[in-house]
Symmetry: C2
């Protein structure tokens, strides 16, 4: 029993830590509670209650279902809900009218057939990518409303009244939710995307630096800061898996009104491209890390020979990435990027040169060493590192520069 209590306590501690790490999660919970309480208050106020009838329940439901973390997602769901409900309502009324004209006998047959056909079509349409991206929730609501109306239409005669009231409650619910999400500590999907990309850039830069330090400083200090470096250099893992969240943010960001430094038609798609470029860079760092952790390491002599040039390349790379992050953050064009790019190209050239001179340097070494063969073989894994990095880094940098200039031109 004690073990159970300890587990529960651990769970609560974890939850508390989650909230403290990101207080906006607490705020989000409180916002949801507030929106619901406000809607319930509507219900307790006699005059309003009499106005919308017993359907106030629908307002509660709308609030619960529509309330989302980011403003974009909330607006997306609200608009989808309102439009899908009205469309389905009208269609269902039409079908109901046709059915009622065709006599008592065929009425249920026609209704059932309509439900079957439209539900099948709408469910299938949710598989189509373009619809899935923009109207997935709307399709669901469409099916829901249509089948509910056409089923209840058989019983309730005052369909128009019901539809009227339901629309009113849904609009009350959605507008309340939108007001709450937009004006009380709003979390904009666009801003999140923006911050995510910048954070990813910083992570890439850090893990590039970290893996360089790890690779070349491996033998000097193996105890203390090594683990920290390891953690730092693993930041790229987050970048690998961030595709889905980037896409959903970009998807929701399109629904958001202008806010802060972001105008309408902010180039959200460019962010996706930058994200993809970052991810391809993260793949390279993954490969780099494979070299770091591999069993056959290059001898120190080779490392020493290449150390300076490699470090220059990686430091210019990471400072370019950091500079680009700053560029995106302030959405202004920075002249430092061009300068740094030139510097990086010089560094790459230098690395090429030192690679060319490596065989000569090695030859001197190998004459003094006994195991020249194995040293030569292992040396290749050292050479793997710079080349693996140089090629994508160069393409990556040029890609980023192109994109940053595009971002600048649009903002």
């Amino acid at each position: 029993f004690m073990a159970f209590i300890i587990r529960i306590r651990g769970f609560f501690l974890k939850a508390w830590k989650l909230g403290v790490d990101d207080p906006r999660k607490f705020v989000h919970g409180i916002k949801a509670g507030m929106a619901l309480t406000l809607v319930s208050l509507f219900y307790y106020m006699r005059p309003l209650y009499d106005g919308v009838g017993g359907n106030a329940m629908w307002a509660v439901m709308t609030v619960v279902v529509v309330f989302e973390n980011t403003v974009g997602a909330t607006i997306y769901k609200s608009l989808n809900r309102v439009f899908a409900t009205s469309l389905a309502g009208f269609l269902a009324l039409g079908v109901h009218w046709v059915a009622s004209q065709s006599g008592r006998r065929f009425e249920p047959v026609i209704s059932c057939l309509a439900v079957f056909l439209l539900a099948s079509a709408a469910t299938f349409s949710r598989f189509i990518p373009t619809i899935k991206a923009k109207f997935d929730y709307g399709c669901l609501i469409f099916i829901l409303t249509f089948s509910m109306v056409s089923v209840s239409g058989y019983r309730v005669e005052q369909l128009f009244d019901v539809a009227n009231q339901r629309m009113a409650t849904i609009i009350i619910g959605t507008s309340l939710v939108i007001i709450v999400t937009m004006f009380i500590c709003p979390i904009w999907a666009g801003q999140e995307l923006h911050a995510l990309i910048i954070r990813n850039m910083d992570k890439i830069a850090n893990s590039l630096d970290g893996s360089m330090d790890l690779y070349f400083g491996q033998k000097e200090e193996e105890t203390g800061p090594d683990k920290q470096l390891g953690n730092k250099s693993l930041g790229y893992r987050c970048v690998l898996g961030s595709k889905a969240s980037e896409e959903s943010f970009a998807n929701f960001a399109r629904w958001e009104p202008a806010h802060g430094q972001f105008s309408f038609k902010h180039p959200w798609k460019q962010y996706l491209k930058v994200g993809a470029a970052l991810r391809s860079c993260a793949y390279c760092i993954e490969a780099l890390n494979g070299c770091i952790n591999s069993e056959n390491q290059a001898p120190d002599a080779v490392k020493k020979h290449l150390k300076e040039a490699c470090e220059r390349v990686s430091s210019t790379c990471s400072s370019i990435t950091r500079e680009l992050a700053k560029t995106i953050q302030t959405t202004t064009r920075s002249p430092t990027v061009d300068f740094l790019t030139k510097e990086m190209n010089v560094a790459v050239q230098e690395l090429h040169n030192s690679l060319k001179s490596l065989p000569d340097a090695l030859k001197e070494e190998s004459e003094s060493e006994s195991e020249s063969e194995s040293a030569d073989c292992d040396a290749k894994s050292a050479r793997v590192v710079p080349l693996m990095e140089v090629i994508p880094a160069a393409t990556f940098a040029s890609l980023l520069i192109e994109i940053s200039s595009r971002v600048d031109s649009v903002v």
Copy 2:
């Protein structure tokens, strides 16, 4: 106007192609329509209608909301819905009782406070990873039911009756949906996961072969089959992005009853590990492709020297992967895997040897060639390929072997 019609037509053609490519999507749509029609029929039958009262609408709603593509997802949603509804209902009744005991004055205050607190807590708890994975939908339904009951509790006196009817309708809806999804062309999440992993393995093997052909055969035939090979070798891209779907399948597969060759407690988590190993292999192929597309290529002489050994390594790798795919497909231990692994290790050793002999071979070449320096420099990018591949391939293969033995031991 004609352009509009053409676009609509194109859209429908695309949708139709989607369905033809995967007929199960059509079937799914039809199943959804059928389930809804069946529920509507309940509504049209007088005696049943009188039994559950005007709440039959709730059955319709349940069907629409709970119906999902895979059996696992449907069961997950159904169970979550039923339990969350009952829990929230009981809690709401308790709160309602406390509120009604405390007098007319405090009743709305207490109700509102309870809604606020519980809704906030439940919304926040959706951020906690373990809850999000298993009970995300349940939390939503909990908030929904609780706030609806406590709000309507103020008006309706016969709460117990309402709760009873609502539970009945929800259970009718969920059981109907579960029957339809399970017995009419069921799509099991577990099977999907199984197939996805196998497909990914084949894709990895194909793209390994494809990129080898592309790298070593680049200059011989540049026109016809090259593009096809390029497409083939890009199969690994799908593997890179399949993490999210693997996780959701594994998540849903846990809810599924025993079916086909899969018993209860099938090792779904092992699939995730295999998937992760495949993904790390895909990262390496990404790096390989970077080498293929890079500007500085190795001279033909170097390529020729390494061609045989490289091709042996990659072909053993890909045949191991195919063999493993077969192993997983039949869930039996195949002795061929061990044999192939040994063969691969031999091939890797051979590649090491030919790498060691490369400098000598090169030296002969360089004496006859004029541009020995640049040839030596470019040679490194050729060396990049085999080493980049050998290290992860070896670790990958050993990982896979370990996992496949685990899979075998559990099944």
